[in-house]
Amino acid sequence: MRAAAADRVQAASTTYLICAVAWFVPGAGHLWLGRRQKGIVFLLALSLMFAFGLWLEGRLFPFEVTQPLVVLAAIADLGLGLPYVVAKALGVGAGRVVAITYEYGNTFVIVAGLLNMLVVLDVFDIAKGRK
């Protein structure tokens, strides 16, 4: 499964660039490192999970420093990169508190962001030659 590009240890600057790309586009880091199957699965699964959360009327939380838990949720939301930016730009993710699926939607969106953070850490390890 390991491609030649992934087996090489990347330079430090390249490693951080790959991690940034991996954060911005879910799965792109693995695709860059030649792990195509993993990259495609992450791209599809995380984007779908995020979209599903928004469809369930989940909310993209704002960075309100007066509410620490809301800030934590916002950081988790931001973990998905491009889908988050696109959703914000399109004005979706306002959330509807009275919707019966509101909390479920939040859970899907937040967990999608957190999982992408794990994916970025995996990309870092691969780029460093640890995996």
Partner: protein, 57 residues
Amino acid sequence: MTTHVGLMLIFSLFVSVVFAVLTRDEPREQVTFGARLFGGFVGAGILIGWLLYPLPL
């Protein structure tokens, strides 16, 4: 599909797929581990649901 159980199944599926692909390299191992994770999530969800059923006492 938007029942609690339905959403739990979909959530478990997504998380299992990502974790399996993240932690295993071979496709066969990914499928096996993913299926075990999915079963664990669903089983634990149902078990905890029944344990909480009598609450509040």
